[in-house]
Homo-oligomer: 266 residues x 2
């Protein structure tokens, strides 16, 4: 975990309402979470023709213990490129934000080699993520390829970016709340504006908050955009202890509301 | 135009109901249409670190007379990569299909160079496509870059792929129906199933059609997936003459229905 508030560009300069010592996912965890949520990306390989050009192509993939696995045809450009030079990278990006550059993305860099059949680990991981690939997984002109991960570039949007150690990425656990997050945000922002405002009043430095919008949630806590008469700024608050299942979010948010109410009335 | 039926994998092998000599967009036209509809893609450049690896990064872009234009920061990885070696490619892909590999995609390959300010053409094209970039377009650490296009790889889904001549891509006009196409398909499939079936009965080799679904529409015509007791197959039918505006589609489809009805009752 790191003290990454997650807000590089969140309104008036300097207005950040996060209290001290709030845990946040590391960039390795954020990058792993992002990559685990996607099923296709842009593979970059070194072209045979025009020779030496970096060539970006569309590909499906799955992660096997954090390393990208591909099931690609011998006839495809990128396959022939990789057979001649294994150096490659895979870009995966979110596209949920209206501002394209606010979207999270990660580039996984390494060498991509063919895995000899039966390639059991790779096959299992790939078909779990891409069940419709079962019908061509055994075609003789298709092979499993796996990236030996060397480095990871993570960009979480404005002002949140770093090179992530490959070992840290491979060790990181994807966030257990990732699949549920957008539902939690929609629910809280639609039906629980009073609770969000109570969190802001009780736990952030924005006691004058007039509105709070939940913008992100993960196992370690959640993020708010807080409106005040002084301006708008971000805040991050913690779940303590960190959650291990998405199902625990509801209970944790209610418990936090009780604590906020007690503190505000006390 | 080419006689590309647009169906590499459309049901039972060999069942294609397209009549003879139906015009279709060329791959250059299809690739240009696809690229013009998107505002971000995956840029592939040659990394400085790890040196020589092909590096895929997320980027916004616009086309200026068919060539990709970027507005990128000197501090970004891809910018430093391009300054050291201009060879690059840009992947743009659709993501409307449930099967990822059925989505259209295009890779534009060439050398990407910085354009000296004021870069009027590039600035105008970029801001037309990316109006929110106006606030950083004049930051001193941002520059316009433009790809000198050398080759184009087009993949329109299963069984529709080719290398497209760069000159043909630069000369091609994006399809005037592109923005309206999904609305036309939804409207025809929801409200005009009888008309679609009449087209199939009158103009295709599927006189025994039991259902027809419109799957694509462009200036030269449209595509159907036709269900028959013998199996399912694609058909392509022509607009004659080709349309020049999306607004003409409605009139052309009604005129075609009148012709179909006349022929079926005749």
């Amino acid at each position: 975990m790191s003290n990454d508030t997650g807000h590089g560009r969140g309104g008036a300069p300097g207005l950040v309402f996060t209290p001290a010592d709030v845990p946040a996912p590391t960039h390795a965890e954020r990058a792993r979470t992002l990559a685990e949520q996607h099923k296709f990306g842009a593979l970059s390989s070194l072209a045979l023709e025009p020779a030496g050009y970096p060539y970006a192509s569309f590909t499906t993939f799955a992660l096997a213990d954090g390393e990208p696995v591909f099931l690609i045809s011998r006839m495809a450009e990128h396959t022939r490129n990789l057979q001649a030079d294994a150096r490659a990278s895979l870009l995966v990006h979110d596209s949920d934000k209206a501002d394209p550059l606010a979207n999270g993305r990660v580039t996984l860099v390494g060498k991509v080699h063919k895995v000899a059949r039966p390639a059991e680990r790779e096959r299992a991981a790939f078909l779990a993520a891409q069940p419709t690939a079962a019908y061509y997984a055994d075609f003789t002109d298709f092979d499993f390829y796996r990236m030996q991960l060397e480095s990871v570039r993570y960009i979480g949007g404005y002002g949140r970016m770093s090179w992530v150690d490959a070992a840290a990425f491979l060790k990181a656990e994807a966030d257990p709340l990732a699949a549920a997050a957008s539902g939690i945000l929609a629910h809280m922002n639609q039906d629980h504006q009073t609770a969000l405002l109570a969190y802001a009043h009780a736990f952030t430095s924005a006691q004058d908050a007039t509105q709070a919008v939940m913008t992100a949630v993960d196992r370690y806590g959640f993020e708010l955009t807080v409106h005040t008469p002084r301006g708008i700024g971000p805040a991050r608050l913690a779940f303590e202890p960190a959650l291990t299942h998405a199902d625990d979010a509801r209970k944790a948010l209610i418990a936090l509301l009780r604590r906020a109410e007690a503190q505000l009335s006390g």
